[in-house]
């Protein structure tokens, strides 16, 4: 048995959590920039410590479980959300190799974790036992199950070209040409599905604060809400890191060392996520589902078909 890589196992969650916390501040500053306003700029230089202040506030808030809620599931839900996201990072092949970057079903492992992540939102909605939360949970269930389909189908193209589910092999297969060029269609579908999976604006209908209060986490307060909040940002980092790994060549790049390239590419996609939030309004629920099943599903199937055809023609 190989010894456990203890240092990455301890460091990865800490780094991801710190990143997610800083990202809350980065997002608000960028939103301010793009929407022509200030954003948080009082706490520390440029408002940098706003995230810390928010964290302290959340920690010292009363941790209240509604008396009508299903206590066990109510407490479990945020933990599931956090755990599934953090576990997914285990197979992301960062420059150091990650924890299990070479796992031969790495990509499927991430899809499995994303599939389990649905429970956090759905169970939070159910356990809260209030109407807004329940509606949010039901929306989340339908939305995330649907978009998982398109996400998996769009990734199929990459798997076909690379010939492996292992993320390390997929990165190695991109040493010549990044997969964003031959798999551009898959990349677009993947990004859209990624936004829906992390239920971010413009696809944040499970939360939809103007119509559902705050959706599935209406009844949550204190650090349990904080867990949902941080897990969402960690989810953004995850989808961006995954897009970097699968389509942008991972740590491959000229001159600079691999971790720097990885961080740069991931950062660009995270910024794009925030730009989408700043720029786009939220669609209606039927429009969201219509886009998924009527546009993205045929597109991703077409992508698989085209990739297969090209591969067969090349082979013959």
């Amino acid at each position: 048995m190989t010894p456990l890589p203890l240092a990455p196992i301890v460091l990865t969650p800490l780094v991801v959590l710190a990143l997610a916390t800083v990202l809350t501040w980065v997002e608000r500053r960028l939103l301010g920039l793009w929407q022509d306003r200030y954003g948080p700029n009082r706490v520390g230089p440029g408002g940098m410590f706003q995230a810390v202040a928010d964290g302290i506030k959340l920690l010292f808030k009363q941790d209240w479980v509604p008396p009508f809620a299903d206590r066990g599931v109510f407490v479990l839900a945020p933990a599931i959300g956090m755990m599934t996201v953090l576990l997914s990072f285990a197979v992301i092949p960062l420059a150091a190799g990650g924890i299990a970057g070479g796992l031969n079903v790495g990509l499927l492992f991430i899809l499995a974790m994303m599939g389990l992540g649905v429970y956090a939102v759905v169970l939070a909605g159910w356990a809260s036992d209030s109407k807004y939360a329940l509606l949010g949970g039901m929306r989340a269930a339908a939305q995330m199950i649907s978009y998982e389909v398109f996400m998996a189908l769009s990734l199929l193209g990459v798997v076909m070209v690379a010939g492996s589910f292992s993320l390390r092999d997929i990165v190695a297969a991109q040493s010549g040409l990044w997969f964003i060029i031959p798999q551009g269609l898959g990349f677009v579908v993947f990004l859209l599905a990624g936004i829906a999976e992390t239920h971010r604006l413009p696809f944040d209908l499970p939360e939809g604060e103007n119509e559902l209060g705050a959706g599935f986490h209406t009844e949550y307060s204190g650090m349990k809400f904080g867990m949902f909040f941080i897990a969402e940002y960690a989810g953004i980092v995850l989808v961006s890191a995954l897009a970097t790994t699968l389509y942008l060549g991972g740590g491959n790049g000229l001159l600079l060392p691999a971790p720097v390239w990885f961080a740069l590419k991931t950062g660009v996609i995270v910024a794009f996520f925030i730009l989408l939030r700043a720029g786009l309004p939220r669609p209606r629920y039927d429009q969201l589902m219509g886009l998924g099943w009527k546009v993205l599903l045929p597109l991703s199937l077409l992508n698989v078909l085209a990739t297969g055809t090209v591969m067969m023609l090349r082979a013959s």
Partner: protein, 166 residues
Amino acid sequence: MYVLPLLSGGLTLVGAMMVVTCPVAVHAVLYLVVTLLSLAMVLAMLGAQFAAALEIIIYAGAIMVLFVFVIMMLNLGQPDRDREKEWLRPRAWIGPGLLAVVACGELLYGLPTLSDPDGAVFPIDARDVGLSLFGTYVLMVELASFLLLAGLVTAFHIGRTLRERP
């Protein structure tokens, strides 16, 4: 060396028992998810990592979420819990339970006599699964897709919006 598989197997058993005995439907589904996850661990330890990943994605990640979705739509409350408790009286389960204990005892007694599968564990990856699905068992796959298509057509027929007749 058998600690991890035995632990996963034990989790599977306890989870399955809790699925049957839980009066709250969502809790039962959660225990079923635990059962599926530990079963996937057993599969992974036997070298079938692809099957393990598929089990989590499809069963735990999709089908069970749909179960929760349906339970949420039904809005079961206290009356349902009371009814479930009513059904779980010892009178109902003691007979089958005793028979199952006898069967389990027989299995445990016979277990040491089973031959050891000479320790060789073959990892089965996606390529092997794909080759046997679309090679040896292609007819089965096609028949299953017919079945799914029939289900799809039925769902579309039931779920269509009725047009007003002119």
